[in-house]
Subunit: 518 residues, 2 copies
């Protein structure tokens, strides 16, 4: 696949300008050291021996200290402020502008935090992750609670140092998605909440069901690994610039996009979608990072425009495409080839429909598209309350279970399947809402794809997804983080983010899957 965007002229830096040159040199150094940190985290989650945690904790703290030193160098501030005065002039490129904007934001954030705090946060993150792994295995929230408390305390300090207008939690939201606030989120989430609850109720009242039996059975991890690799290859994930391993919590990371982008999945030998849909989800993240223009390598622009935009790509490939019948009409033969006994007698419509079964469940990452955002709403409400001081860490399991009763009508059997299921709170708060943002963006981008390719379903049914990837690379991936999230969505779809696309997508899809209008 050729990147047509190289002709756009926006993704190259004016490195002939002396100050852009100096900024790039500093960015390269920061990007290189950050990549080593990402590698150490990847190792921690995929390979690190159980007793090595103490050494890793110190390594990460030291690295964060070295990074912080570079990120707060007063000379960097001088260069950035000087560039900021002139970068709108026509002799600079969009990449230059993005670089200055992003770097200035990072510089201003970094200078608000003392180095000791940054190192302490890193130590707590590594130790907290180790504690979480054990606590989750044993379903023992009490052993994790002290670490969570330390993270809450540190995150409050970060919020106070960054500053905010309305609530402390807003300061944290802004870290992950620039400009995001609680009140904006409440507005965006309201139609999502209503639509999800209404659809769930209509599905439950319809009495209609989806046959999911084909997804349960015996699926060896070895064969699932083959399947995931084949599916990833077939959507265009490039293994010569990537790798797929196993971890408790699937994730995608990069040690230099677009040339080193790796991901993990996990296997449940009784239930196939656990790995298959994780591969498509992480694959979506991976395609985004592998699609970034090579000219952005070793800069902070070589990545997603924001967590929300990043999540839109994982959800697009996992759900909008990866749970559609037309997608599987083109790729189901891969599943049948790897698991001939299990799927030889299951037709593609049955398989694709099974992937869209709606059922309130305990685990977020296994949730269907209708209930998924309710899982996010629960986390959003809890972490907001935690940071703003309205609830205590100790009360979390109880609060968690109460919210699950309220939103989904079910309650976790144990904390491992409840409040301990996600790794995110080992590093901070404000991340979860970006998942729902991602769903909203994905629906809007998918609507644009449908409009651009009126024969989308027919083309997908041939097994081809290259035309989708090429379009996404050209209109979204190649520019990395040059533009801000809203601008990225506007450039790709022609409109600013609008939750109504998701409302329509979800309603139409599940009215069809569950035959709700009959």
């Amino acid at each position: 696949m050729t990147l047509t965007t190289n002709t756009m002229g926006t993704i190259d830096f004016t490195s002939s300008d002396e100050r852009i040159g100096e900024l790039l040199q500093r960015q390269h150094e920061i990007a290189d050291l950050s990549a080593l940190g990402a590698l150490a985290e990847w190792d921690q989650h995929t390979a690190m021996p159980g007793e090595a945690g103490e050494a890793r904790m110190h390594q990460m703290a030291t690295l964060q200290g070295a990074l912080h030193e570079r990120a707060t160098d007063p000379r960097l501030g001088e260069v950035l402020h000087a560039l900021n005065e002139v970068v709108e002039q026509p002799r600079f490129t969009e990449a230059d502008r993005g670089l200055v904007r992003q770097s200035l934001r990072s510089y201003e954030q970094a200078t608000k935090l003392p180095r000791t705090l940054v190192e302490e946060m890193e130590r707590v993150k590594v130790a907290s992750t180790e504690a979480w792994i054990t606590a989750r295995q044993r379903s023992d929230f009490a052993s994790f609670a002290p670490w969570l408390q330390r993270t809450v305390t540190l995150q409050r300090e970060v919020a106070d140092r960054f500053g905010y207008k309305e609530s402390r939690y807003d300061a944290l939201l802004d870290i992950y998605e620039q400009g995001l606030t609680t009140s904006k989120l409440v507005q965006l989430f309201e139609p999502v909440r209503t639509t999800s609850k209404t659809l769930l109720q209509r599905i439950q009242e319809s009495g209609h069901t989806v046959d999911t039996s084909s997804l349960y059975g015996n699926f060896s991890a070895k064969q699932q690994e083959q399947l995931c690799q084949k599916i990833l290859k077939s959507i265009g994930y490039d293994f010569s610039r990537g790798q797929m391993l196993i971890s408790a919590h699937p994730f995608t990371t990069s040690f230099g996009s677009p040339i080193d982008v790796r991901l993990t999945v996990r296997y449940n030998e009784r239930y196939l979608p656990m790995s298959l849909m994780a591969a498509l989800h992480e694959g979506g993240h991976g395609l985004y990072e592998q699609g970034v223009a090579r000219s952005l390598l070793r800069t902070s622009l070589a990545g997603g425009a924001s967590l929300g935009v990043h999540e839109s790509e994982s959800r697009l490939w996992e759900n909008a495409l990866g749970r559609s019948e037309s997608f599987w009409q083109g790729k189901y033969h891969i599943v049948q080839e790897v698991f001939p006994e299990q799927f030889g007698n299951v037709d593609v419509a049955t398989f694709a429909r099974a992937l869209n079964s709606v059922q309130p469940s305990l685990i977020r990452v296994e949730a269907d598209e209708v209930t998924y955002n309710l899982h996010i709403l629960i986390r959003f409400e809890l972490e907001k309350a935690l940071i703003n001081g309205d609830i205590t860490v100790e009360s979390l399991p109880e609060q968690w279970n109460a919210k699950y009763r309220e939103y989904l009508g079910i309650e976790p059997d144990k904390d491992a399947n409840g409040v301990l299921q996600d790794v995110h709170w080992t590093s901070g708060f404000g991340y979860f809402p970006t998942y729902t943002l991602g769903n909203l963006y994905a629906a809007q981008i998918f609507a644009t794809l449908r409009q651009t390719f009126p024969d989308l379903d027919e083309r997908l049914a041939t097994g081809d997804t290259t035309f989708v990837l090429d379009w996404l690379r050209e209109h979204l991936y190649a520019t990395g983080a040059i533009y801000q999230p809203e601008e990225v969505i506007r450039r790709a779809t022609g409109e600013k983010p609008d939750p109504q696309y998701f409302v329509r997508y979800l309603t139409e899809k599940f009215e069809r899957v569950y035959d709700l209008n009959s």
Copy 2:
């Protein structure tokens, strides 16, 4: 296994002393960043996607720059020089003295090299490694030669900056084994050369042979992996502080000894010793690093005393123990359990004897104990000539093949099995001779073990190796790099290094194996 050495009182630092405290803090930072570099190298050799080399090259260079900055900080020099004046006073420990000695040596070395040179060396090393991997696969020396030439040029510059008395090459030898010179090596190696050549001739003239047929057959990589893991566990390698992966060239590395020490092996599905003996060899390195006292974690003392001493432990476990009949009397059942078809009808004496077949061969890492040091002598003579300017890079394949004809009477069929077989020259010169030093030290330590445990063979035959490991930990491993190589050998064996132990070991062993005195 309990470390009795913790009671020795020598392996704790006097961190209550302010300057030792400051030195330790600086050492920790350097150790942490170095560990991340080691992790990145480990990843490069075991997992990194093929296209990611460019990013990794920059990451390593940037990291080396950051490390060099810390290693040459004038404040570090001040602290070290002040400590050096007082550290012999009785209120300081042996660990303090080792730390100051080692740190001062590193500081003096580092301050002799400009940062740009250090970064350039790292870039060349990473790129050269990638070039070597491809060149070896294609047996294409010409594509590797330009990288080798750059390394030679850089190494000469290093030698000139470090300084030397007799020859440029001496400056490089000193990096790996303090105080080592060409003339010392020639003296040490002379009895080795004579003994090896004489023994080889006697074996060839005897007409006696060793039946190695049991080692050839069908051995699946999966089963070999199991076998290597079991053997490693049985000698005391701790997987909760380690990991075993695959790489083209087996190696051991550490990201924080003693708690994160990892190793690699490689599999030949037609010939078992390729993996099994690599596991014992790397396992020996691993046991050493895992046996370092935990109080040395995050300092430059948490590792081997020198490359020569390190190699003594790999050779001790691989050869003196791992190719002895008594060792296999105790552990052969593991081999039979994993490969019942292949070894069910082979007795332990036949198996152990097969591991000691002597045969001039092309590949160093597969060489027997009699010819191994001839491989090292060849490399020693070639790299010495290369650095001193007596031969050119272009002439290396020809020179290599001529030496193999002269020393071993055979000639490589292709450069992949000749001059391209080892990765070492991608990073520098002066390393190979430490392998022969390791063989000499190993024989001397093994003689001490025999003296300490008169019933050594009987105890090994029960399958127990814990008593050997415990002794080694107490007398050699725990102190890490607190003492200098010669002192380490003296403390463990009561004598300074003496090549006659190796001469006797080799002669007695192979007179027995090949029944040369009958």
